[in-house]
Amino acid sequence: MGLLWIPLLPMLGTLMPLLASRFSRNSIAIFTALLPAIALILLFKQAPAVFSGEVLAVSFEWIPLAGLDVAFRLDGLAWLFALLILGIGQLIILYARYYLSEQDNMPLFYSYLLLFMTAMLGIVLSGNLIQLWFFWELTSISSFLLIGFWSHKSEARKGARMALTVTGAGGLALLAGLLLVGQVVGSYDLSTVLASGDLIREHAAYPVILVLVLLGAFTKSAQFPFHFWLPHAMSAPTPVSAYLHSATMVKAGIFLMARMYPVLSGTELWFLIVSMTGLATLLIGAYVALFKHDLKGLLAYSTISHLGLITLLLGMNTQLSTVAAIFHIINHAAFKASLFMAAGIIDHETGTRDMRQINGLWKYMPHTATLAMVAAASMAGVPLLNGFLSKEMFFAETLQQVTLGSLSWMVPVFATLGTVFSVAYSARFIHDVFFNGEPVDLPKTPHEPPRFMRIPVEVLIALCLLIGIFPTFVVGPLLAVASTAALGGDLPNYSLAIWHGFNIPLLMSFLAMVGGLIIYYNRKHLFRFQAQFPEADAKLIFEWMMQQLVKGCTSIMQKLENGSLQRYIYLLIFLAMILMAGPMIDLNATEGHKSQLPIDNLSLIAAIILAVATLATVLFNRKRLVSIISLSVVGLIVSLAFARFSAPDLALTQLSVEVVTMILMLLALFFLPQNTPKESHPRRLVRDLSLAGIIGGVIGTINYAMITRPLDSISWFFLENSKSGGGGTNVVNVILVDFRGLDTLGEISVLGIAALGIFKLIVRMRLYMPSSDSTGRPWAVGRHPMMLSVVSQSLLPLALLVSAYIFLRGHNMPGGGFIAGLITSVAIIQQYIAHGVDWIKDRLRINYQWLVASGILVAALTGVGSWFFNRPFLTTWYDYFNLPIIGEFELASAMLFDLGVYLTVIGATLMILANLGKLTTNQSPAMKENN
């Protein structure tokens, strides 16, 4: 269980600084350090077991479906990395306490830092590949926050974004790779995977897996050509650079390669990709580092170079080289973290990081200078320091490899060359900063930093020395156990002695040392040579690429999404037609075998009228009023068609809807242009006409094919049960109010909602009200023709009577609440037309909104009523009663439902039409202030 707490404690620790934010800076730092410190202790408590070769593991089920368990696994490799993370983490916390200024949000910084720490621990301790990826991404995210911590700096924002983009992309590749691994192995459990090396290497997907996983590793570890983000991450506060960009995050990629070493390595492909990438990175990083004037820039490229070195070692496919890689991981973490911290102190004390300004600091801060120089010497590989040991091992290994065949000599040569530059930039770091005359224009006068700020550096330098001098004693067991884990088996023989006698690696070291110093001495020529090449700033290029990407995307979107409804409709219909092509081809015979009705002359004439009126609607579409009139003819013929083909209810409904629609169109047309100008390009007309023709043809064909085939439908049930089950003989109406009453409830809701929506549209509408008709003639003077008024008001009672008639008979004969409602509405609208709004408003006080609501409510509650008889919603009830004198009559709950329909229809129609009419009057609808 102790294992579980190791990542868990830092995770809880993210909250500590936030909780402690009210206390002093020291307290915040202490609170922050507390939980990771305990975790570190716990880590040491696991040491005996781990060093004895045990693999500790703990796991719980989390998302079994995705193969994701909460699984932690501690072996030597993980222990080593956890030690780096937690140990250096403690130092960084201490260092940051002094580094951060009063203006910085220290609790937030610490919180981010611990979040990152958690993520790193998660990676190294993961016992499940998916979980590993989970924490992998978490490091990208937390490092984004840390790099961008000084968000007011443009540098920081861009650097953070770049890092996130590159490592994020790598993370996605890694995910794919890990998923493939899981696919091949059949499990995401790390132990299982590590035991399946052969299976993976022999699988067809191995190259893909390898490339994907390596993409993840290379981006994270800043390997060429993905190295460019790392220097720009230097805009982060220095503790971040020291922690993330030397000791931990960039090592995550290395860790991954080491972790997967047993399953992925050992092939030629591995060698080619990994070692060549490492070699290139090593050279480029070392070369560029020399030319950086920025202190942290130099360190960043140096880091890239050393990461390249480790990668190269891992790529060489030998056990010893792997041991060397692990060893160098430790050493690099120690000297590079201390160098970054020293750089931070210098930056902190001088106010700049430009080495052209910073000179001769030896005088001002000898203590710090000593520390930094030791670290830099270690970086250069000076004997008696830790860097020297792993470098020797590296040289030795470069001499062993033969995979490149006759070109194998290149590896040691380039390795030496890389080290030459490494020595050169180390020399530059030492000479240029601490000697080389007096400082130039420093913003501050430098002096030694606070006592405690130096302690972390001192600890790390001590480590460098101790390892350098007593390697076997200090680091031997750790290296052994970590290497065993990385190799996934037995350890090779190696010696950690300082002195191996005069041999080629020593010669190479010597050459490198001398060569480096020579190069540094002649740096002026080299700088001049380098100055010929325009400096390609990765950040600028990256930003430019991003901008081009955004620009490109924007122009694509502007071209595609041009705001033209016509195009969208066209696409919609076009797509539908494309999809229809297949079925139309499949359709062998358009005509079916059902016997067809003969054409009678009236139907023919009606069809002709329909066709002519339809064409007239289209052809006159620019004269809008004429278009409306033609449209009503179409509607009329459609109603007649319904009547002709045995659907009286539909005919009635269509007729009433028709008139209301026409009134509505007239009301709206008043505020719209009366005519449509001619603007369609002939080509567009042809295009639209062809599409319209095709869809018309397709729909017509489908229709013909459908209605000439026999149908076996469920309708018999309704005909059989209408009377007995629904209590009505008009089957259509019984379907509407009973069998499918819910449709009707939905339908009146739609109507009611439309009324509300239209009211919303009308309220506060700014109007274009023409004072004359389209020909410029002023409107007629008389508002309400007398004859119309007189006749309309006399028709009103009659119309109401008719609607009562239609309503009451609906259940047994054509009719019903909807049609009745429309008739009532039309009658009332006719009063509006004939008498005007002012006249009506004193005489008719109906709140249409309430009418709509109560209509829906009546219908819905009628449905609910059946619950009290233990029946589902909308179960109808009917019965026949016998009263003296009056005789037998029927009562049905469906009538109450229909009443709801009736009320809604009236409410909605009038809410729409009357309010629309009121727009031009002083009764114009306004939004109620209802609070």
């Binding site: 974004r161 994020g168 995910l175 929506g757 589902p872």
Partner: protein, 504 residues
């Protein structure tokens, strides 16, 4: 009694409450309207949790409207999937409503009743087992959405509404053509009955039914913003007022749900000659939808626009799952659907707050004054961004992960994985750009205007909280979606259940 009618309540309850709100005394005071609506939404959550609980046992709840048995009457079906969708809509509703109480409810009339009507329509679409009834509920939710879209007024909204409404009208026309074809060949409206009858067709009738099924794809594709029918979405969603946009986050999902439902039940793997009717089309279109969404995300000049494009990406992702058409992919899709809906909604709300606090530049990605609540909003943005980008530790990664796993057959993966992963990267880039512009690129301090009321932000947090919760409980949630997907694909028992009940 309530349990007996539980399946119906998510539809009828908001409908009745919506009508009640339009009547005095509630209609006379906005405060009363607020309270009643919030209460309604809480009750809806309780009801839908109950539904999910019942559904999770694996039993399919059937509700016979009017006591008419299938295939004759209208039938409501609450299985695991539909119960989950109803729960989703209820949670979303509460979040959006809480936000709306911050003042968006005042900028136009009838906000609350329209909201409830739309919920009724959405839930109806989720629950109904009858194709025509589905059409009716589509129309209910559409007309309510039209009215809500114009809430608050303004040029952009009107123009967006014009496009949205007209396109959907054409879409509805296609829906009715499709319904006509299906009734005219299969002779029934109940979806289970259709699935049963589809085997008895003559070849030519099959061609007709095929046409109907494909037309339905167009209709559902339009609702769900499938390429090339997605153009309306960014403008519409980014024009809508924040709570409305948040609610709209589920609208596309209604289309996707319908595809999952109809094209699995009627035209699914067991439809004989018509099996997997739409999959060949869905493949390229969903991949392209993902691509266009990613391009749009990169091109987005404002957070709302970005959120809209993220919705398109989620649509592409979900339809990709529908194209894969396996229970495994569908399980992933259902999880992803819930997550993406909630978080996209939260992002729309958040965009509004951020926009308000940044002054004139609003939520556009340009330098502006600092937001008043940088930590609060920054954290909220961070959570939503990570979720939507599919990055750990928030909910997006689970769905993405499962979908990748579901598409790991080499033939599929070579298409799906790059598209999914590259679009993820695009989202990461776009969101990183958004976050750094909105929170980090500040010029000057915020002149202290009043901070938004607590309630308003609680809506955002409610929705965002779902993300970590969905990760923590991912095990049981994915187990639920797995069983839901299996239920969705194992159609024969469903058909038997529905039609045997009818025969009784």
């Amino acid at each position: 009694m309530i349990q007996q009618h539980l399946t119906l309540l998510p539809v009828v309850f908001p409908l009745i409450m919506g009508a009640l709100i339009l009547l005095p005394p509630i209609t006379n005071s906005l405060v009363r309207q607020r309270n009643v609506t919030l209460l309604t939404s809480l009750v809806l959550i309780a009801l839908s949790i109950w539904m999910v609980q019942i559904a999770s046992s694996g039993s399919i709840q059937l509700y016979y409207l009017g006591d008419w048995k299938p295939p004759f009457g209208i039938l409501f079906v609450a299985d695991r999937t539909s119960a989950l969708m109803v729960l989703l809509s209820s949670i979303l509703t509460l979040g959006a409503l809480l936000y709306a109480t911050g003042g968006d409810d005042k900028t136009g009339m009838f906000f609350y009743p329209l909201f409830l009507f739309q919920i009724a329509g959405i839930n109806g679409a989720f629950l109904t087992g009858d194709l025509f009834n589905l059409f009716v509920f589509f129309e209910v939710l559409l007309i309510a959405s039209y009215s809500l879209l114009i809430h608050g007024g303004g040029k952009q909204r009107t123009q967006a509404a014009m496009h949205y409404v007209i396109l959907n009208l054409v879409g509805s026309a296609f829906f009715l053509f499709a319904l006509g074809i299906l009734y005219g060949t299969l002779g029934t409206l109940n979806m289970a009955d259709m699935a049963a009858r589809i085997h008895q067709l003559q070849p030519d009738e099959q061609a007709l039914v095929k046409a109907g099924g494909l037309l339905l794809l167009v209709v559902f594709g339009l609702k769900s913003a499938l390429l090339p029918l997605q153009f309306w979405l960014p403008r519409t969603y980014s024009a809508a007022s924040a709570p409305v946009a948040a609610l709209f986050a589920i609208m596309t999902k209604v289309g996707i749900y319908s595809i999952l439902r109809v094209h699995t039940l009627v035209f699914g793997p067991e439809a004989g000659d018509l099996a997997n009717l739409i999959q060949p089309w869905l493949w390229p279109m969903s991949l392209l939808t993902l691509a266009i969404g990613a391009i749009g995300a990169l091109a987005s000049p404002s957070l709302r626009m970005l959120a809209s494009n993220l919705v398109i990406i989620s649509v592409g992702t979900l339809l990709l799952a529908a194209a894969i058409a396996t229970p495994q992919a569908t399980a992933a899709a259902l999880y992803y659907l819930v997550h993406s809906t909630l978080i996209a909604a939260a992002l729309f709300l958040l965009a509004d707050v951020i926009g308000e606090q940044r002054g004139k530049p609003g939520d556009r990605f340009v330098s502006a004054r600092r937001v008043q609540q940088p930590v609060l909003l920054g954290t909220a943005f961070f959570v939503s961004a990570l979720s939507l980008a599919g990055m750990p530790p928030f909910s997006g990664f689970v769905g993405k992960l499962m979908l990748l796993q579901a598409s790991s057959l080499p033939s599929i993966a070579s298409w799906v994985w790059p598209t999914l992963l590259i679009s993820s990267l695009a989202v990461i880039i776009a969101l990183a750009r958004a976050g750094t512009s909105l929170f980090w690129r500040v010029s000057g301090e915020n002149s202290a205007t009043e901070t938004p009321p607590l309630f308003k932000l609680s809506g955002v947090w409610l929705l965002l909280l779902c993300s970590p919760l969905m990760v923590i409980f991912a095990g049981s949630i994915t187990e639920y979606t797995r069983l839901a997907a299996e239920q969705l694909f194992n159609i024969q028992p469903t058909i038997d259940l529905i039609l045997q009940q009818g025969a009784k």
